[in-house]
Amino acid sequence: MKGGWAWALVLPPLGTTLVLFVGPLVYLFWVSLHTASQSELYGHALTIQNYMAILGDAFYLAIIRRTLAVAAVILGISLLIGYPVAYFVALQPARRRMAILLLLLFPLMVSNVVRAYGWVAILGRRGVVNTTLRDLGLIDVPLELLYTTEAVVVGLMTILLPYMVISIANTLASLDPRYQEAAQALGAGPVRTFVHVTLPLSTPGVASGMLLVFLLTLSAYVTIALLGGPRSKLLVSMVYDSVTAFQWPHAAALAFVLLGLALAATAFLLAALRPRRVQGAGR
């Protein structure tokens, strides 16, 4: 594809992306730097007060802390469960592996609201857990499992787990088994082969899995709204609330604080894990 024709190809997607993706975000940032207004979308004066108000307010800082804490817990659990599952999947022969990965892909396509509803049905007052415990005579009064931060963690973790598994499994499956054999030939038993060879070589998959889960946790408004209570609100809930209250500059600032968190965490993760492009010496 040379010359003029090439630009005909790329202009539509590029133009659309710039106008509908980059543009609005730039505009949003621009708005975050303005004062609020009662009559219009935003006021005229430029200010960084919106950001100062958020970052200097103990309330918002607590929300941010809670957001990061919830994200950390979800990351931890999904990694703990997800890595062994990914390993299991990677060991399967090709056809079965593909079938399992497809089985994992399917829940990801089901809308989050439906999956959250599933947990409502499980954890609710008349949900599966409570009914079972009641029928077994273990409790008299239903447990308040729903509308808690714990419910959010459980629900969100199970919703995002497939991303972690698929990410790590793909990397593990593409590892040349000769690396592990070479380690064994050099005297490393199964545990040490895993620690010294398999684990380091799986960092690209781990990193992308963690990144994906983290970013999706940050923007999981619906799950939090359905499974959490008033004290489970995270940063994204604040964004939603201020948008519905038409506090545009404030909402914009909150949005970019969220984005800032995302970027900071991404940088931190990539620096900590240093995932290499594992092309290796193999053929």
Binding site: D176, R178, A182, Q184, A185, L186, V197, Q279, G280, A281
Partner: protein
């Protein structure tokens, strides 16, 4: 068969994958300090045999011994061997030095000793300056040397090599063949390697096992299996041969006379009775070509291929196509279509009794 002198021993080992028997009742003895090669076409079971010695495959029947101890049920990481893989399998996330030191680290060799041993090994393979590089920064030949260094630094009882030179270009390969052999002799390590290149096997080994369909067709020193192949397959695999079919008509105890379509041919073979159908194999380098009609097998030159040091002469005779290698040392010139005679010594004729299909 003294166990003490054999570093590797396979005893009636069998391995199947589903319906396919990859290794069928194979027994091998490899004396200490020798280079042993497993040679054969792809699918013959040579790699599986190597992996059985390593322990990456478990035999269905039979036993594997390393230095006299039965290791059949012992996991690879507890066996005394190291391996150079076809794809080298250098750990991409470790430097060259860390790669080479890996086995020592597993054996908990202290850091000082380790560094010295690694330096030593890199010097042996002539890569001393490259310790801090990563595998992906090295050329194929360099990676191969690192793989070698990594395998020998742990001073294994047995060194296994899976088509180690397969990925190198011709010149590099020949260079590495010489280096490999000198290294092995210097260190005195028992080595077993797998190759499909008969030239390589002949160059490097003390003994060669030619395999086909999971069984060993013949084991012997390179010269022996090249000049005295015991089957058509071995004869054909180790180099070109001229095959002439015929019927034994006389046997005087030392030599036989074979009646072929191109006349009578003599061969040195003792115990073949008259009336047996045989196939005579003569190596092309043993076939001389002469214009004189005094003796020899009549043939006509079909094609002449100049090959640098050697010229290939393709001919047709009553007994079938004939091939001769002539050294380009003199002024001999041949012409296509010329009628000549093929001559060879009786000792050069290899007698093979064809297998009953």
């Amino acid at each position: 068969m003294s166990d003490g002198a054999n570093d590797v021993r396979l005893e009636r080992v069998r391995k199947s994958f589903g319906a396919v028997t990859a290794v069928d009742n194979v027994s091998i003895d490899i004396p200490r300090g020798s280079i042993f090669s497993l040679l054969g076409p792809s699918g013959c079971g040579k790699t599986t045999t190597l992996r059985l010695i390593a322990g990456f495959e478990q035999p269905d029947a039979g036993d594997v011994y390393i230095r006299g101890a039965c290791v059949t049920s012992i996991r690879p990481y507890r066996r005394d061997f190291s391996m150079v893989f076809q794809s080298y399998a250098l750990f991409p996330h470790l430097t060259v030095a860390e790669n080479v030191g890996f086995g020592l680290r597993m054996r908990r060799v202290p850091r000082h000793e380790r560094a010295a041993a690694v330096r030593n090994a890199l010097q042996l393979v002539k890569l001393d300056a490259l310790g801090d590089r990563y595998p992906r920064q090295l050329s194929g030949g360099q990676q191969q040397r690192v793989a070698l260094a990594r395998a020998i630094v742990v001073k294994p009882a047995v060194l296994l090599l899976d088509e180690p030179l397969g990925a190198l270009d011709k010149l590099l390969r020949e260079e590495m063949q010489v280096e490999l052999r000198s290294l092995q002799q210097r260190l005195g390590i028992t080595a077993v390697f797998v190759t499909h290149d008969q030239e390589e096997a002949l160059t490097l080994s003390d003994r060669v096992a030619v395999m086909r369909n999971g069984i060993i067709e013949q084991i012997g020193a390179p010269r022996e299996i090249y000049e005295r192949p015991r089957s058509e397959f071995v004869a054909g695999f180790l180099g070109a041969s001229n095959f002439i079919d015929g019927l034994v008509v006389a046997n005087d105890g030392a030599a036989i006379v074979v009646d072929t379509r191109a006349g009578r041919v003599a061969a040195t073979a003792a115990d073949i009775a008259p009336g047996t159908t045989v196939r005579i194999a003569v190596r092309p380098e043993r076939v001389r070509v002469q214009r004189s009609t005094d003796g020899g097998m009549p043939a006509r030159i079909r094609d002449i291929v100049y090959r640098g040091p050697i010229t290939h002469l393709y001919m047709d005779s009553a007994a079938g196509p004939m091939l001769s290698y002539r050294q380009n040392a003199g002024a001999e010139t041949w012409r296509i279509g010329e009628e000549i005679r093929c001559v060879w010594d009786a000792e050069s004729a290899i007698v093979i009794v064809p297998e009953r299909a």
